[in-house]
Symmetry: C2
Subunit: 142 residues, 2 copies
DNA sequence: CTTGCGATTTAGAACCATTACAACTTGATT
DNA sequence: AATCAAGTTGTAATGGTTCTAAATCGCAAG
């Protein structure tokens, strides 16, 4: 489970599409994001990948995450002051941030809702992306 | 226009409701937010209020902004890594961030749209707040 | 193969927004 | 006037991120 990328070829391909090389570091960083669908910080990713490549540096983790964001395999998420979080879920989705636990959940975002949201924009506003963030508590069964 | 609070009494009242005192510093900080409806950072607020109270410190600006957030007169907004921005618009609204200029605009958010958005939450997710952030470019007439 | 060379990695310094701290001030209450 | 808590101030500390310069890597030309 730990050091295998789900789909190494598509990673290399996506990187190449953005003029970037594939490297072992980029593979393990991407893998660390895929194997656990939380929204880890750079530090948390660093902690995970050290078991794969013990010599990897935090600077490299930042570099790799930036590379993955640049080739659109990963989204950087900022919903509060504090470390940036990284999300490998490419499907359109909103985020739910549990204030009590700090956990972040992906919430499926139907395209019909997305287009309703975008429709509130007056002419002259050309949106390339929409972020929707819920804050609250999660309760009971989920 | 610069050093007059729109409604000093309601400010004092809201502060009192949260067990906080009114002070000249809190008045000018709040005023600085109201007189220009952009979404300034603490540093930008600091620059503005120095002409009202030249001895005010940056720490106090942070303290005042926190007090205003705490009594719900101001919202702290974070949509990217970088300094927190402050918004005195209490009406439900989304934000549009112009990536080219860095400017942030308030977008009116009809309650009907807001409830549609909230409806995507599965049971067990109890949202207290929703943030909607558009990113893109503003063009032509607006 | 070797060598050349740009891309990548690395450790550590620098940076910057924010928070913590301790001394000082203010102003309401006795 | 003396007291006391809340607020302000300058400055130090913190923490996440970016910068820098020196190694290292890996493809490509010779
Ligand atoms: Mn949180
Ligand atoms: Mn921006
Ligand atoms: Zn996500
Ligand atoms: Zn706003």
């Amino acid at each position: 489970m730990s050091s295998s990328v789900i789909n190494p070829e598509s990673l290399a391909q996506k990187l190449a599409d953005s003029g970037l090389r594939n490297t072992p570091q980029r593979e393990v960083v991407y893998s660390a994001l895929l194997t656990k669908r939380d929204h880890p910080t750079a530090d948390e990713v660093y902690a995970r990948v050290r078991s794969d490549i013990s010599s990897i540096s935090l600077a490299t983790v930042y570099n790799c995450l930036e590379a993955l964001v640049q080739c659109h395999l990963v989204r950087a998420v900022n919903f509060e002051r504090g470390p940036t979080r990284y999300c490998p879920n490419l499907a359109p989705h909103a985020h739910f941030h549990d204030e009590a636990t700090g956990a972040t959940f992906d919430i499926d975002l139907p395209s019909e809702i997305l287009s309703k949201v975008t429709s509130i924009l007056p002419p002259g506003y050309d949106a390339e992306a929409v972020d929707i963030i819920f804050r609250g508590k999660t309760t009971g069964t989920r």
